[in-house]
């Protein structure tokens, strides 16, 4: 039972990170019908920005400021940097392709992804960087309930991603910008005719999605410590999968999908077999797709004549 709860915590931690990445995919898809394959690379850059802020402030062993401001600065810098990167990518790689066949922006996105990955390799070299989180926040601190222990870092990750998701939900459902985003995603042309500045809404969507990815990057750096140029690819794939499983373009769906994949990974690796972990996850996902062809919470695709 304790083991089960421990795995549950692991799964939720992993899942909340995937969910944050998936949100970026899903929001962009909702508005542009574009699979933003460069999203994983934005997340990788966020993790690197967090790392450089941490080293700039003296490293994990001897930070110049108390722990809380260090963490806040790391998150803010990574989120802002990732957000700006997302906006630049949209402006130069996707905007010229707004009305092109749907596969063209996909290839452009793959190009951006290759370019960013190679840039990271060139600028930061191939070596693994580590956040050294235990020196910043000892893993022993945290909540203890009987034999079960949840470290502070994990609580921080789960807590801040829940906070970000609530903030996003409020933004989408309660603000003018959110209303504009929903309108554009429903029908871009009609929204433009109603006086919505579509370009501005798209830029805002990319910014918000990338901000979430940047935050996810720092979280992964804190929990798993290692940061490297190739990390965006796999995480991007998982985030994309989460978005599709939940019903792409659907915000609660992306959260659910992320959580589901995180849990599936944690439980299949600990209970069944670590060699076949990915196989089991993919098997579950294919089954979900075949049973619900447009994702768990997605609305079925309408056939128009």
């Amino acid at each position: 039972m304790d083991f089960f709860v421990q795995q549950l915590v692991n799964g939720v931690t992993l899942g909340s990170v995937y969910a944050l990445i998936a949100l970026g995919y899903s929001m962009v898809y909702g508005i542009l019908k574009l699979l933003n394959f460069a999203h994983g690379e934005v997340y990788m850059m966020g993790a690197f920005i967090g790392y450089f802020v941490l080293t700039g402030l003296g490293g994990a062993s001897s930070p110049m400021l108390p722990v809380a401001p260090v963490l806040i600065l790391m998150f803010l810098a990574a989120m802002l940097g990732a957000g700006l990167l997302g906006v630049v990518i949209e402006r130069f790689a996707y905007r010229p392709l707004r009305d092109a066949p749907r596969i063209a922006p996909l290839i452009s996105a793959i190009g951006v992804s290759f370019f960013l990955q190679a840039s990271a390799l060139l600028l930061f070299s191939a070596q693994f960087r580590t956040y050294n989180t235990p020196q910043l926040i000892p893993f022993s601190t945290g909540l203890e309930v009987g034999p079960l222990r949840i470290s502070l870092v994990r609580m921080l990750v789960i807590g801040s991603s829940i906070f970000l998701m609530i903030a996003l939900t409020l933004l989408v459902n309660r603000t003018r910008l959110g209303k504009a985003m929903r309108a554009v995603s429903y029908d871009r042309e009609a929204a433009a005719m109603m006086g919505i500045d579509v370009d501005r809404v798209i830029v805002a969507t990319f910014f918000i999605g990338s901000v979430l990815a940047g935050a996810a990057g720092v979280m992964v750096g804190l929990v798993f410590e290692r940061v490297f140029h190739f990390m965006g690819f796999i995480a991007g794939l998982k985030g994309f999968t989460a978005a599709v499983i939940g019903g792409i373009g659907n915000i609660p769906g992306a959260m659910l999908g992320g959580l589901l994949i995180g849990l599936a990974e944690a439980f299949s690796s600990s209970y069944i077999s670590s060699t076949f972990q990915n196989l089991i996850v993919f098997g579950i996902l294919i089954t979900v797709m075949l049973v619900r062809p447009s994702g768990l919470l997605g609305s079925p695709v309408l056939k128009k004549v």
């Binding site: 699979l35 092109a100 063209a104 290839i107 190009g111 060139l122 999968t241 990915n278 993919f282």
Partner: protein
């Protein structure tokens, strides 16, 4: 821009009657008058001459890769270009073909089938697998189909990695199916109708024959009832179905044909490499095949071939610094010639870049002498760059990195500017590009390849979204 209501045929008709201007016009008109048959024969003849022009096994191996890529792109073209199904699991068929060939002609199970039997077996098995994995396309559309097929590709790699000690209940010993991460080495060379194929050169010719047959076959399939059915169901599945096109059967047929071609090229690949390894069939390869197809133009046979040539050969030329330097400056000049017009303006830009470098070099030499004391990497052409290219002896990496970021920023700004401002910025950008090249990139060919590949994909797509030889067509918004 395609006009609403213009279909593919009308669009091509306009292209056919397009009036060319400029110096190359007679050549282009003459090229247009030659039909597809003679054009393809000329292409084949040039390809067949290639192994006689060079002795280098490396170059012939590049040729083999180009042909393999062309076959893969042609197979993918059936599924993606014609039937319009986004199949991200395509590379699994290639891998399956390779492993299947390895099973029936290597020491793995000690089966050594004759090649004439092995190849049809592999192709049939791949086609059946294609039918099976194509089934989800009945229910799933668009990106949902894409993600599901991507899972198949991932599952294939996972299986190849992990099926090396499969414990079956009725067996005492664990079964080694795929050799795990070490793959299956020692695959038999092919031996067709008594002709042995020992070297890479022989496989080049085998591939060329296979390639020619596949292209001819696909040409007729495309013109046939089936080809029209594919295109109809791509444009509008519902309308096509109402017109009694068997959409679901055509989808499966597309999957099976694509898989058969992929399996065939997989088996040849396995024989050329004399081994199969899981890392040969990862998602990166899939991305490269897609890039080849989309660069060339999805839906077009010649486009797929052209894309494959670009994607498979350009990265290889970048491998050695001497070639890379030559290629870099040649490409820079080619891009300038293509984009800056008229030629007087081009001459001004080139002269300005040369002058800019020379002045900058002297300034740096005066202000910070260490800044010009570094050595150029690679031998050839380096004499020409002396007292023009600033090579710092200290902090080269850091300065190079800053210059790289500046370069990206200025290239992006260039795309926003028009007119004289663009030319003004072009001069320092060009110098910056060669600075980054000489100081940072030339020593790291693999990073450079990836950087350039990514940049080319973005640049190509934003310029020509329908690919080099593709036909622009109007898509229904989803």
């Amino acid at each position: 821009m395609p006009r609403i209501g213009t279909d593919e045929w009308v669009e091509q008709q306009e292209l056919r009657t397009e009036y060319y201007t400029g110096l190359t016009a007679p050549a282009r008109r003459a090229f247009d008058r030659v039909g597809p048959g003679p054009r393809f024969l000329t292409f084949l003849a040039i390809c067949a001459l290639f192994p006689f022009l060079t002795d280098s096994p490396f170059l012939i191996r590049v040729g083999v890769n180009v042909l393999l890529f062309a076959l893969l792109a042609l197979g993918l073209n059936i599924v993606v270009g014609w039937a319009g199904l986004l199949d991200l699991g395509y590379v699994a068929f290639y891998g399956f073909g390779a492993y299947m060939y390895a099973w029936v002609s290597s020491g793995q199970f000690d089966i050594h089938l004759p090649t004439e039997l092995a190849i049809p077996l592999v192709v049939t098995a791949s086609a059946l697998l294609g039918l099976l994995l194509g089934l989800p396309s009945w229910r799933l559309v668009g990106d949902y189909l894409a993600i599901t097929t991507l899972f198949f590709a991932q599952i294939f790699v996972e299986l190849a990695l992990n099926l090396d000690r499969l414990q079956l209940p009725w067996m005492d010993e664990p079964l080694d199916l795929t050799g795990g991460p070490n793959g299956i080495p020692g695959i038999d060379r092919m031996d067709i109708l008594g002709i042995e194929l020992p070297g890479v050169r022989d496989y080049f010719f085998l591939l060329l024959i296979v390639f020619a047959l596949v292209v001819i076959g696909l040409y007729y399939v495309n013109e046939s009832r089936t080809g029209r059915g594919w295109r109809a169901s791509r444009e509008d599945p519902l309308a096509a179905e109402l017109m009694t096109t068997p959409v679901n059967r055509l989808k499966l047929l597309a999957f099976a044909m694509g898989a058969a071609i992929a399996g065939l090229s997989g088996s040849i690949f396995a024989a050329v490499q004399t081994g199969v390894f899981p890392q040969n069939f990862e998602v990166v390869l899939l991305i490269m095949i897609y890039a080849a197809l989309i660069l060339g133009g999805a839906g077009s046979i010649s486009g797929a071939i052209l894309g494959a040539i670009i994607v498979a050969s350009v990265p290889e030329i970048l491998r050695t610094p001497e070639n890379a330097r030559f290629l870099f400056y040649a490409a820079a000049i080619a891009v300038l010639v293509a984009t800056v017009r008229p030629w007087q303006r081009l001459a001004v830009v080139v002269a300005a870049v040369v002058a800019f470098g020379a002045v900058l070099y002297q300034l740096v030499a005066l202000a910070w002498p260490v800044g010009v004391e570094g050595e150029l990497t690679g031998g050839r052409f380096s004499g020409l760059l002396e007292s023009w290219m600033v090579i710092p002896a200290e902090n080269q990496e850091l300065i190079g990195n800053i210059a790289f970021v500046l370069l990206v920023a200025s290239v992006l700004t260039l795309t926003l500017l028009r007119g004289d401002a663009r030319l003004m910025l072009l001069v320092p950008t060009l110098y910056l590009a060669s600075f980054v090249w000489e100081n940072r990139l030339i020593a790291q060919p693999s990073v450079t390849r990836q950087l350039l590949f990514g940049a080319i994909l973005v640049a190509m797509m934003t310029r020509r979204p329908h690919g080099l030889l593709g036909t622009p067509r109007v898509e229904n918004p989803v």
